[in-house]
Symmetry: C3
Subunit: 435 residues, 3 copies
């Protein structure tokens, strides 16, 4: 496999960063166009405003030309040409002159991070406002300010992207990254970049699962996809949301709502095998789109992969989540964890030992290692474990879990044994045999 290196992934984050994204609008369309250049097969879907989506409906489309706030002396103190964060997302169009007093409730800043611009939106109630550094806000003189918010908020579409990699079965794998956050590197340019790199990798495989890589706005985007795919939803066997996968923290995974599902187990084994620091947090209905996939009506086995958990670093949802906050090595590491996890999900299978009465004679079949050393001992031990636990009840992940052996070694042992007469695959009743 040839994956983009960390510097290329970082370069891509930089390319996405300036595009002004939101829940809807042309920024999302430009983003998807860029993403489509990194992985073939990205389909763009447009869903009209007003489309009912479970308890919600698709909101109006918002587009931003430019928003500025001009001080009494003519200085422009907030300008979306400098950063798209300068205006509250989904601000309605405004052209007005206001005193500082009148303006204050519309101005958002971060007293604890006085040089950074906060990220604010008002998707579902009409409003407007500006975001600016607390240092700037503190220095604003009294007087009359000119507000110019040149936006459109009107019927249009919600836009999302999807890359489908067909598998040999109808089981579905899901990778999901939100596309709605503007001008922040970790949240979630990193997620979009890693998701498309993973999609490109999946296209080099002949996977068992049919993988759907979803690039959609948060909450409503995930719900739109769920509503649009009632036939696929019950077939989702494993999924992962990618959000904030580029910062310096260790990989952190969130349990699925049910826990103990294929993706939970695959991530656990992969992170154990990699032996780098990592963390697991329990499921909670607070976070990214795993909240929607894990709502009780769906209860899908979808995890969240991140690095430092959202909300627990000061740069979160501010302009300080910039290119310096994400690292080539972290982006690459997140991608590798995902590639290994896909391999564990794809490579998992259940076998039955066809010679279950005692250990079969490996030597007769040329399965005894001809060389000594640690690798040969591991290979032999892995074969003994696979033979011992291949009783139809244990899949290869269970064997990796119980033996402590790496999933790759267990998979290799199963391949070696399956090439003789000693193993036959067991297809669970809900799985279509590959054709």
């Amino acid at each position: 496999m040839s994956l983009p290196d960390g510097h290329e992934l970082h370069r891509r984050v930089a390319e996405l960063l300036p595009i002004p994204r939101s829940l809807t609008g042309d920024g999302v369309r430009r983003t998807l166009a860029v993403l489509g250049g990194w992985c073939e097969g990205l389909a763009v879907h447009e869903v009209p405003t007003g489309t009912p989506v479970f308890d919600w409906e698709v909101p109006q489309e918002w587009n931003l030309r430019r928003a500025t706030l001009t001080a009494p002396d003519g200085t422009v103190v907030a300008d979306t040409d400098t950063t798209p964060l300068a205006v509250v997302g989904y601000s309605e169009p405004v052209r007005a002159e206001l005193s500082l007093e009148q303006l204050r409730p519309r101005l958002h800043s971060l007293p604890d991070l006085p040089a950074a611009v906060p990220y604010r939106t008002s998707y579902y109630s009409r409003s407007w406002g500006f975001c600016l550094p607390h240092d700037v806000l503190q220095g604003l003189p009294e007087g009359t300010y000119r507000v110019s918010i040149d936006t459109t908020l009107q019927p249009g579409h919600l836009t999302y992207g999807e890359i489908v990699i067909p598998g040999t079965t109808e089981e579905v794998g899901l990778v999901s990254a939100h596309t709605c956050h503007p001008a922040m590197a970790n949240d979630n340019a990193s997620g979009m970049v890693v998701a498309t790199a993973l999609a490109a990798h999946l296209r080099t495989l002949s996977p068992r699962l049919t993988w759907h890589v979803l690039l959609a706005p948060g909450t409503i985007g995930a719900l739109v996809w769920l509503a649009a795919n009632p036939d696929l939803v019950p077939s989702v066997r494993a999924g992962v949301v990618l959000a904030g996968v580029g910062d310096a923290g260790p990989v952190t995974v969130k349990r699925t709502r049910r826990g103990g599902t294929l993706i939970d187990r695959a991530l656990d084994v992969v992170l154990r095998d990699r032996a780098a620091p990592s963390a697991v947090v329990p499921f909670s209905p607070w976070g990214y789109d795993e909240r929607q996939y894990g709502s009780p009506g769906f209860d899908l086995p979808v995890s969240l992969l991140m690095r430092t958990p959202h909300g627990s670093y000061p740069q979160y949802h501010t302009s300080a989540d910039d290119l310096g906050f994400v690292h080539p090595s972290s982006l690459r590491d997140s991608l590798e964890v995902l590639v290994d996890t896909v391999a564990a999900v794809e490579g998992n299978a259940t076998y039955r030992n066809t010679s279950p009465y005692g250990e079969p004679q490996l030597g007769r079949r040329g399965l005894y290692p001809t060389m000594g050393g640690r690798a040969a001992r591991t290979a032999q031990l892995a074969m003994l474990w696979v033979l011992n636990l291949s009783d139809g009840d244990h899949d290869l992940l269970a064997i990796a879990e119980r033996s402590g052996l790496a999933m790759a070694d267990v998979r290799a042992a199963a391949d070696a044994l399956a090439a003789t007469d000693l193993l036959e695959q067991v297809y669970p009743s809900q799985t279509r045999r590959p054709t």
Copy 2:
């Protein structure tokens, strides 16, 4: 709710203390008369001697007028007018003169606590004896002693009290405190005082469960109630025995025999939410009447709430378990834990999210907090948890357990959601809908 304060509870312990109680007799009747003054509705039951009760039968009734032991020089060295503990409980009537040598096997003291009088009984085999401080015993001169035990032991009744607080369902809650121990403050004047205060509190509620607060002698009293109520016993959903709830130790609860029942879970969550030191001990068939409720033929979900575990403090079952050993703050704290536990038991329910596909739009229903701050964030998080886990399988206690949120916050969130169209209550098949 208005509960008696700790000083009032302590005053009540002091009022009960001097009454000479035993398994049967007028001391129990006087005790129940006092308890009935603290909570309306206390019914007194009299069960005749000889009534068969499972493997037992109701013993003869014992009444004590006075017992004295007089030394050769005329000094009275043991006298039930000083403490009812001075005579072995259920001593048969005796009038005799005996040498110290003859008397010794009848005299009980505590070498390790030489100033205290021990508590001894001989309920089920006829006997007699005196209890006195080891210091006094050591100083007794040789010579002839006069024994005067003026008791009656004859057919009569076993007396117990019961307060029933009707609920909207036929499910039963049980609170049980033993009434048979004389002259000891923690064991069990404290239990009787807290049980009646809890009963008075229950009368201010319109509870879901029908609560039975039982004030009965240990072992045989609990068995009498179980034998008398064969229709109620299978409906006991949660119960707690109160014994030794006034000393300075932390609250300690004992698991029910089965463990993981409603009362175990409610106590766990309440004690976790209170965040004060507390302890849990496993079930064992050694203790108070939870032994009887938890015998294999009943296997009722009845816990034991105490503070320092019985038998593990030197004052246990001695005259040193006096008014100074129990504390107003401890009595009040035990009562509050019970009030909260009743609230958790009563407030527990299972709901179904009627909009389970994704998160419903809370804003549209006015459920988004209008104020910021920690309380608002907790309220919002609690709503998300309740929505996420209200799938018919999780009750509110399960949601409190898994989320880490306080039961009161979870209950409040369920109330807010149930007031909209988003939640509907699920009635388990064995539960009658409230009418």
Copy 3:
């Protein structure tokens, strides 16, 4: 019970040590003749070469007269008259002259333990070789060496021993020790000695289970027994493999493949009750014949009892596993653990409390301790536990586990209660009542 003391057990190890054992051959027959002298009833079975055994077949019989390697100067540098380890097990007959260069691939030594002779075999592919101390190997001069391997490798038999102790039921207990390792004290003269001492002890009992004590070569021997006894195999309720039970390490037991079986639970309780250091290791398909008993087609509840785990001490599979490496006290301790474990397996039973509604009145039945003190309190507590948990679902081991009381105390309490009307034994449907 009268068991051989540690010195007698050590003397027996010394007696077995010099006999040249292998997978087959007269050394095994001589070993079984000696073992038969320590326990009556040892039957010797001979299985012809070529007999199919699941995926294997019985190999040719190997007998060693003498093997020597003579240096150019006439010095004999390896000689099976000095140690049977000097020749690779199952070496084919050879008479040859070879240069040191030609010889080297045939010479085995231990650089890390330069004074010891390693143990090597080549059972299933024809080969030959010598084992010698690394110090000797290093000092060998160039020149022509004379190889004399006077062995026979031809159709014959595989020989194993079995002691059957009939029980009152058809349930089977299995004790298994491998007989094939030559000239090593811990591995496995110790196992054979302890197994026969345990068999002799079992003959003094009237056991419930029918015990089979198997003394057979590793792997193929266990498989031969399994193949020969298709009717017994499904009845194996508890088993233990003995290997390396004489060294100074603590007792170590290996979980059965399934875990939580009768033998796992009995060993756990016995080791807990003995309160000496001990260890538990998880099941793995690497070790001794528990690998075969625990293959998926059999999945028998067979544990492995050892002291220091095989492979984790430097003397393992070398001539340094000698008489000094095994200790009288360790041999005796291993035997005692097994005797206690057999008692726990045999003594385990499930009862039903016939008076389950409340605690029955023990005093009336003379079951209240007449003496005070710790033993009496333990006896009383054990009776309360047995009564409380004898609901048909808990066996005595479960009561010992949950109460923390010693299995012997629990068993004694059940005996006392069963002698009254308070307990009746529950026979699981798969168990034949004793006749």
